[in-house]
């Protein structure tokens, strides 16, 4: 992952920072590295996939290609909600694959350096999706591990 030039703390020349796109699910704030974000789309109806795991909302048409959409709330074990028009789909690149993440709303672009990040304290089955935590202006921001969020082959076949 390439790092963007520090814009907020130019005096900290030695510590480069990375930009993150943060978004809300319920009242919680999550983020992904901005370099993996391809685009942000308004909510469109998904086509359900039979026998798909519950966190796979379905597929949408992304300019002629079939894009699977993961409902992040369900994936993270939070309370599931019916999609609303103000929801958005964040299209992310994960390795060679592309997927959509359904979130409640996009909130901000944040910038912090690696040394501001802390590993999540406990490792429950759901916290494996969170790569790191940080505190910013008294809010806790969670950085997602997109590889883990992507449905695995076992989950699809199940």
């Amino acid at each position: 992952m390439s790092e963007t030039q520090d814009t907020q703390a130019p005096d900290m020349a030695s510590s480069s920072t990375t930009e993150y796109l943060s978004f809300r699910i319920d009242e919680n704030e999550y983020s992904v590295e901005i370099m993996s974000v391809r685009e942000i789309r308004g909510w469109t109806r998904t086509t359900s996939l039979p026998h798909a795991p519950p966190f796979v909302r379905g597929v949408i048409n992304l300019r002629g290609t079939v894009l699977p959409v993961v409902d992040l709330a369900v994936r993270l074990g939070l309370e599931a909600s019916e999609p609303q028009d103000r929801n958005v789909i964040i299209v992310v690149d994960v390795g060679s694959r592309v997927m959509g993440l359904r979130v409640d709303a996009v909130s901000d672009i944040l910038s912090f350096s690696d040394d501001q990040l802390q590993p999540p304290p406990d490792l429950t089955s759901k916290s494996r999706f969170v790569r790191a935590l940080t505190i910013l202006d008294d809010r806790m921001v969670r950085v997602l591990d997109l590889e883990a969020v992507l449905p695995s082959n076992e989950e699809i076949a199940a």
């Binding site: 086509t47 359900s48 597929v59 699809i156």
Partner: protein
Amino acid sequence: MSDPMQEIMASFFVECEELHESLVDALQSMADGEGDVETINVAFRAVHSIKGGAGAFGLDALVDFSHQFETVMDACRSGTLAVDDRLNELFLRCSDMLSDLIRCSRDGEAIDEATAEGLIAELATFAPQEEEAPAEEIEFQPMTLSLDDLGAPGDAPDLPPLDLPPLEDLGIAPPDEDTAPAAGGIKVVFAPDRELYESGNEPLFLIKALADLGDCRTSVALDAPTDADGLSTLGGRLTWTIEIDTEAQPSAVHEIFEFVDGLCKLQVEVLEGTTEAAAPLPDLAPPADTPAPAPAPVAEAPKPAPAPAAAPAAAPAPAKPANGEKAAKAATSAKASPTVRVDLERIERLVNLVGELVINQAMLSQSIAEENIPPNSPVTNGLDEFMQLTRNIQESVMMIRAQPVKSLFQRMSRIVRESSAAVGKSVKLVTDGETTEIDKTAIERLADPLTHMIRNAVDHGLEDAATRVERGKSEQGEIRLKAYHKSGRVLIEVSDDGGGINREKVKAKAIQNGLIPEDVTLTDTEIDQLLFLPGFSTANEVSNLSGRGVGMDVVKTQITSLGGRVTIESTPGVGTTFAISLPLTLAVLDGMVVTVASETLVIPLNAIVETLTLAVDDLKPVAAGQSVLCVRDQFVPVFDLGVELGYRDVAPVQEGTIALLLSPEEGVLVALLVDTIEDQRQVVIKGMQESYGRVPGVAAATILGDGQIALILDANDLVQNATGEDLVIKQKKVS
């Protein structure tokens, strides 16, 4: 961009495939006794070109093998070695090996060295004696000059006698034979023969090349013709004397004169004593030691070089004024070849764009339909034309991807050779319709199922030689591969002239394996279909060729995944034909658009036999959640599509429910309940495997006119998932 050498290498492997194809063609027609003089030449050139390219990329194994291969073929084409059946057979095996070597070199896989070396040894028994080591010897050996050396048969007219003065007269000691660095420089005496000019060589360029070795002092002299004959043939003879201030070896000079070796007199000497040699000679004055009585004509000679730069300057500019215009024309003519190579990615892009166009057009049609514009209005007429054009463009684009099945058939000829050798049968492969074109992807994905079908035909289809003779057939069995177009689909048939399917045995085996009940009555077609059942081919009858776990059920699955169907026709004693029917292109599909539980789905039209509107009492329950429908005296299992896809729970059937009668395979029927039928139309297939993964019961996706994604059903897979067992069995048990 990427490394140009890498690109050339990639294109080399593509070319290798083409060359190998023409090699196989040539060898096959030689084996069939249809070859002529040019045939062996074609085969030779193919191997030769492979060797040439392989050498450039340092693919030693490929070079070594093709070298030996080519050597034997060269002996054949020059007539020193007669081609017989044994040699033909060896050539074919070598061609197979060559194909493996190409593939291994390309994919960086380990090479089966033992087999390659075995074949090289076998080839060596036919090879003429090699007078020199194979291609490793890249360097041309610098030779010391000897005029006899190149006096090969048919050489140029008599060379005039060597008329250089004795070395002593030149005031120079005879050259030392040792090749120590020429610290004192090198003296070159060079007298071109007429042949040198005739061969297109130019003394000036050679002298210029000498100047690259070091500072040169050049002088020239004209030999007077010794007699009238000499005058007519030579028109006078220039002798150049060049002293080079260099530390280079004399061999460097010989390298420069490599091309004119034998076309001139050349004397190369190492000069002693640097100081002496470095002393400048008087300008323009012919050197005192030049034997020529006449001074050199100034116009002919380059300026004796006080400064080395003068020699290069003396070289005439080779460019011709008219070149620009002519070159531009030549560039056009050189490009005027009947084919263009196009990056597959570009084609994929075009295919995708056309897909978009089709979808876009569908959207437009839908909007116009919603506007209630009357038929025959300019808008609807224009739209009809637009649709027609779109379809034409689509077909044309798809044809870009189409390739003749020839390469596929060639691979099969190898399978026939190998499998017939493995079971000790003599088998001839006859191919028909090799130019029939089919989508490139289909060609790749047909290789496996066809291989299996051919092995099966060789192993089980054809009788052994004794039985064949007993039955009045020729000892050699025949397998026929045929491809042709029929009503918008491509048909590929694999036939054998064997004993036909032993239906009693097949049925007995199916009963034994518990696939069908003992007392069931089956038609011939139904029995034939049993071959496609998973679990039909069993372990106790595994031959080392076609058994091994892979059954015809896998073949059927592979064909089905291409949108194709397999049928069997068999006549006892006469033979069996497996026919594969495939759509022309894999990127579009004629489908029926249906809805179920508010989801829109597409069902491939070729799976649908008919549509029925049901009355409530048409369905007869046979078990909890399982009903059958009676269609023309046949009980057909019924599945609610919404339930099977997990979109809804089982609900009682309503009056007027629509049932689609599907035939996922020959002789099998199943009814699928859906809510509504929306449309029947062509849809563009969008793969889901890469972006998501395999979804049970779903073949692919498409984008509808409203921009929504609809799933395309895989009827066979859906039903198998629903029942957990194969439908034929189920149906047989039911009936």
